[in-house]
Amino acid sequence: SQQGEEDPQALSIQEGENATMNCSYKTSINNLQWYRQNSGRGLVHLILIRSNEREKHSGRLRVTLDTSKKSSSLLITASRAADTASYFCAPRYGGSQGNLIFGKGTKLSVKP
């Protein structure tokens, strides 16, 4: 399968703690994207990291990419209850027509 696989499937933390989610993929990519989905809503694009980048920041989000291990991680620092959501990674493979294949996601619960 070409989808990214997120790990863990579920994560429960206290407000203020950091949350780390991992993603593994199969073959070489052009970029890898992370999305968030709040309950009952559509997915929202969070951050995109290109294959020639190793780390990227956006606010409290930090994404790393290790192409040698075909893996990425998403770190949310100083988590808030509002960060409770499912998080999906979506690798964009070279030669693809632009479609993204989403995994099952990591369900993050941040307790106040």
């Binding site: 970029n31 809503r41 559509g42 997915l43 995109l48 027509q97 993204l100 989403f102």
Partner: protein, 114 residues
């Protein structure tokens, strides 16, 4: 505030009925995607279009599903006849081919087939 819109937001129907879901992509976006999300299967890509032409609909059950883009501002997904196993949330997303394929999702249509 540009966003993808979908109608209806909720649909309850009986088995065998035709269901039509509509999507208005963000103005100027040339790529439109249809996804289905269930607890068991997660988010599945059903079909996608570029410049209104279907690029891939291999994820879609051909015997009952059809997807079209009558014009650049409207994408439709039809199920005929509907079955209980079609119950899911159907998402439309749009994007630009050149922007590394970031996708903008609509709020979804929650379909229940009784």
């Amino acid at each position: 505030d540009a966003r993808v819109t979908q109608t209806p937001r909720h649909k309850v129907t009986e088995m065998g009925q035709e269901v039509t879901m509509r999507c208005q992509p963000i103005l100027g976006h040339n790529t439109v995607f249809w996804y289905r999300q269930t607890m068991m299967q997660g988010l599945e890509l059903l079909a996608y279009f570029r410049n209104r032409a279907p690029l891939d609909d291999s994820g879609m059950p051909k015997d009952r599903f059809s997807a079209e883009m009558p014009d650049a501002t409207l994408a439709t997904l039809k199920i005929q006849p509907s079955e209980p196993r079609d119950s899911a949330v159907y998402f439309c997303a749009s994007g630009l081919r050149d922007s590394y394929n970031e996708q903008f999702f609509g709020p979804g249509t929650r379909l229940t087939v009784l």
